[in-house]
Amino acid sequence: MASSAVMTQETAPPEEPVVQALKVRGYWASVAYRLRYDPMTVAFGTIVLLIILAAIFAPMIAPFDPYKESIIGRLKPFGWRGHLLGTDELGRDMLSRLIYGARISLLMGVVPVVIATVIGGSLGVIGGFAGKRVNTAIMRTMDVFYAFPSVLLAVAIAGAMGGGIGNGMLALALVFTPAMCRVAETATAQVKNLDFVEAARATGAGTLTILRFHILGNVLGPVFIYASSLVSVGILLASGLSFLGLGVRPPVADWGLMLSTLRQSIYVNPLICALPGVAIFITSVSFNLVSDGIRAAMDVRM
């Protein structure tokens, strides 16, 4: 009776064509759409992709063996005997070393962030959702780590545990965890107070179900964005550790280490010495801008 009249209203024939003309896209599809029309993000995304590909396929694309030294070919300029970017202080091909260096840099940049995201993210979600005492316990512990400058903390941890890739990554993971935790906690606490979570509670859903269906999906976005911006910090810090001799050991090709060993030659061939720095800069900036682009694309409020 009355209901039938009501029912037809939203599905009335005149309206349907208008409605259907609107593209129905999922959330992620609309994010991808937005990204595609953002030239900055596309450009820097391409750079990031190229760096990643270069790292993966380093043995195939590197023109020379990155560890082959040459007494006569030291610190040669760009283009010398096929060395496109010249040679370093031991006569090794710079381009090949830079390509191989991307592997360590990406590893050092990504792995600690992944570890921090898993540990810090979970702690943050738990803290944000549980509230009160659990939250206080978790967040105050994290605040202790927060009190130190991140560079100092990374250096201290890596120094205490001794150098090497593994310890370096562990140190960075420890540095990133509190920040990750904070981001996850804030996002969770915000989502937790929205009406739809209250509505889910009102249907009688348990905590785990609510976390799984309603919290995680909304927290993952901000967490992921933050993680992607941490990658650039990770690359910088890892280079810093290597520069100080707390990361990888010579003769491994690593941007930070290269910067450190080349610095004595800065008056001989400054251009060559600057190359690892340029690589670090480009990679870090690209990751940062891509992360910004994704953040903007994900901010859908219509």
Binding site: A2, A5, V6, E10, P14, E15, V18, A21, Y37
Partner: protein, 334 residues
Amino acid sequence: MDGGMKLAPNLVEVEDLTVRFVTREATVHAVNGVTFSVRPGEVLCILGESGSGKSVTLRALMRLLPPRRTKITGRMQVDGQDILSLDRGALRRLRGGLVSMIFQEPMTALDPVYTIGTQIIETICKHKGISRSAARARALELLELVKIPSAAQRLDNYPHELSGGLRQRAMIAMALSCDPRLLLADEPTTALDATVQIQVLILLRKLQRELGMGTIFVTHDLGVASEIADRIAVMYAGRIVEEGPVADVLRAPLHPYTQGLMASTVHGQARDQDIDAIPGSPPDLRRLPAGCSFAPRCRYATPECRASIPEPRSPEPGRMARCIRVEAAVHSFA
């Protein structure tokens, strides 16, 4: 609009105003050819639902829309000044001087880090160039004018220390500080509680009369419009579909949308019957239908309505409706 009515020059003249928001993905046709005028001392209510373009029209008059993404065409004149050709300095003098605006949410219009008094005094000093002590005296006078109790103390209050009603009064005081000739009001009573809304509404009506300000009052609420308007312009999908003296429009609406809106507004309908609601929802402003925008929801729609946008028709002096049935409607009411 008619020859006989041009006794005094109009305070506001808007002709064929269109506003488009252009984004990468779509163009939003927010305002599509709006023409209206306001005489000095007159209250024009722009009535419409969300997305009807009423607030955009108001903001366009103050050039408050983000210039990069907004395309404005048409002609807007306030007190003889062509709004669209004003440079920055002239625009600044216009805003808060000749024209001022009050908003729905005073917290967004008042600066939270300064006291009410400081903000009003600053505005007065900036526009009138008088001494701070004179400005303070004027600020106190204004707070008393808007009936804020113990005004002298309130001058030193921060916005968050005031209740919603007092905050709205403070914003009105600030808007009046430079004797504007035109007041733009964007749903200023919507966020207020019922008992407070009517106080602010009556206050605005009295002030408007005493100060003789022309006023454009944007609202979605027929009741509010009936309390304050001299004339009323009903907007739908970026067009004024009906315009006329408030009493005439509310007594005998010409446009089917106005009729539907009045039937939809709950006021004393029989409890055992369904409300005569307008079916469907407003059109997507990114893809407006070719003809009358209301045709998809209109029970009287004919192929003619869907073919082209109806021209404004004026069945009697001072009234206008964009509907091909208007002549018929007048006969049925006559």
